[in-house]
């Protein structure tokens, strides 16, 4: 035996805190996920593949992933901009903007969903304007994109903000003293420092968007092959008591989530090596 499993410690409460932690974790998270995987194992790889390998399922998975990627990219750019503006500039209303970024975390997704639909439907405030130039937003992929931008909005801004706060002015001064223009400094000195945090936020926003359900289903229109997202397919299968098929799609989505979680961890390890902290 090398290192002991648990080091001796004078701290009290080892049994109690470990007991509560592991019991809750198992009961609430691990056993249910295990039940899904077990269902998948019983169904067999072939069965899973047969369920997933249908035009409608592929279309939904591809749609969820593609629009989530686009929404996360939008949030990557806008989130870095927000973080920069909120940390570096002082202006009236800054506190309100800062607090507003977290609204998508606090506002229930169903509320966001019906609110966005009311705004972007053809008779809504924004939908009306868009319709006048022949642009349909609600009940198209544009609507899904907007809902996914909304739910992913806080991630990049919130991960980048503390990093902007920590940038030392000396670095920028050095760059300026050496003759770099402000734009050059931003591109070659500041953006590289923000990149790891921004990527982490991007991956978090992406993971959130791929699984998002509540804010999307109202505005999506849910037309099979066109605006039907993957989580909705699971709901449809469940309503038909088709548990095997629901489990198969659930496992496919779980695998995508795990892949993204792994990517987030790799990004963090990589950037920790590169700049010493994340």
């Amino acid at each position: 035996m090398g290192r002991p499993l648990i080091h001796r410690s004078p701290m009290p409460g080892l049994g109690l805190s470990m007991g509560i932690t592991l019991t809750m974790l198992s009961l609430v998270v691990l056993l249910p996920i295990g039940a899904l995987l077990l269902k998948g194992a019983n169904y067999g790889l072939e069965g899973i593949w047969e369920t997933v390998n249908r035009e409608r399922v592929w279309a939904a998975l591809f749609l969820s992933f593609r629009l989530s990627l686009l929404a996360a990219l939008f949030n990557l750019v806008f989130g870095v901009l927000l973080a920069w503006v909120l940390v570096r500039y002082r202006f009236a209303g800054r506190r309100i903007l800062d607090a507003a970024i977290d609204l998508p975390f606090a506002l229930p997704t169903a509320v966001a969903g019906i609110a966005l639909t009311a705004l972007y439907a053809p008779n809504g405030t924004f939908g009306h304007i868009a319709a006048s130039i022949g642009w349909k937003i609600a009940y198209t992929q544009w609507g899904i994109f907007i809902a996914l931008v909304f739910v992913g909005l806080p991630f990049v801004a919130r991960t980048v903000q503390p990093v902007v706060e920590e940038i030392e002015r000396e670095v920028e001064e050095a760059s300026a003293t050496l003759g770099a223009s402000r734009l050059h400094t931003l591109r070659h000195v500041i953006l590289p420092m923000l990149a790891p945090a921004a990527l982490t936020g991007f991956a978090l926003a992406l993971a959130r968007a791929v699984g998002e359900y509540g804010s999307v289903i109202f505005i999506a229109g849910n037309i099979p092959l066109v605006t039907e997202i993957a989580p909705l397919l699971i709901i449809i299968q469940l309503e038909e008591f088709n548990y095997d098929a629901a489990a198969a799609i659930g496992i496919a989505m779980l695998l995508i989530s795990f892949a993204m979680l792994l990517a987030i961890n790799l990004i963090q390890i990589w950037s920790r090596r590169r700049i010493g902290h994340v």
Partner: protein, 292 residues
């Protein structure tokens, strides 16, 4: 947000070399304002505008409807049960992780974070497969007269799943930063474990705990995807506020749906207000304000 980086007003006529031109600065602030106005403020205003479309009394009348009242009562009950359970878990997990050294700590933290990257619908599905009538455990429990799925326990489990990391994530960084010295001192002076926790640890982490509980509560009251799957959405029994909003909306009862939505939106605003107040007054004791 530390104000240490705040640049004192630049009185010099020439622009500092570490600042953007005033024009660029104004343009960036403008983009931030317009972007957030369209993305965040407009939907928020839309909720209240739609709720009040037929006047205040129509909105209030729709909230007094028995189905709406049942939904509000159920959502409050769910939050009252799941948030304290989650807080207890968060404290226990943070204590276990920060006060002891053991192998696999990073893996344990990853597992606690796992629910953040699982779709709420998949979370609901997992609970249905585990405790549904078709499953081994679920079938047995139903035979004992204790159904989980399509009943209150299932909604609580789903809520616990999606809010699982909230409190623990907030407490762990704060407790790592505070170290173990104060607790060790209390123990050396003869305080019991519980007394050490109540009089030494808890005062140190109370604001972080409140912060985590606040966010956990907002999510618990607003959860839709996972609850949709496990609750069965039975009116008057398992329909929570968010699922009732969906049903009303699909029945084209716009004012009723948005009135209930407005109640949740007010809750979200209150959450943000308290959260901002905490961030301003107790920034040094929160993980969120100096998270990396």
């Amino acid at each position: 947000m530390s104000d240490a980086t705040l640049q004192k007003g630049t009185t010099a006529r020439f622009r500092s070399a570490t600042e953007e031109s005033p024009l660029a600065r104004r343009a960036l602030i403008g983009v931030a304002f317009i972007g957030l106005a369209i993305l965040v403020f407009a939907p928020l205003i839309a909720v209240f505008a739609e709720a009040l479309a037929d006047g205040v009394s129509a909105a209030l009348r729709s909230l007094a409807n028995p189905d709406a009242l049942d939904a509000i009562r159920l959502t409050l009950t769910i939050a009252a049960i799941s948030v304290p359970l989650n807080a207890a878990f968060g404290i226990a997990a943070a204590w276990f992780i920060t006060k002891f050294d053991f192998r696999g700590k990073a893996f344990l933290i990853t597992l606690i974070d796992l629910p953040f990257s699982v779709s709420p619908v998949v979370a609901g599905l997992c609970i249905v497969l585990m405790f549904g009538t078709n499953s081994l455990i679920g079938g047995w429990l139903v035979a004992q007269g204790f159904p989980i799925v399509f009943a209150m326990p299932g909604i609580i489990l789903a809520t616990l799943f999606v809010t699982f990391p909230f409190v623990a994530r907030e407490l762990i960084p704060v407790m790592i930063e505070q170290g173990r010295a104060e607790e060790e001192a209390a123990l050396t002076l003869g305080a019991s474990g519980w007394r050490t926790f109540w009089t030494v640890t808890l005062p140190n982490i109370r604001w972080a705990l409140l912060y985590g509980v606040l966010l956990c509560n907002a999510r618990a009251m607003g959860e839709f995807g996972a609850v949709s799957v496990v609750s069965g959405k039975i009116r008057g029994q398992t329909a929570t506020m968010p699922t009732t909003i969906e049903m009303l909306y699909q029945e084209y009862l716009s004012v009723a749906a948005f009135s209930l939505a407005a109640v949740l939106a007010l809750l979200a605003l209150l959450t943000l207000l308290l959260k901002t107040a905490l961030e301003i007054r107790h920034a040094d004791q929160l993980a969120a304000t100096h998270r990396h």
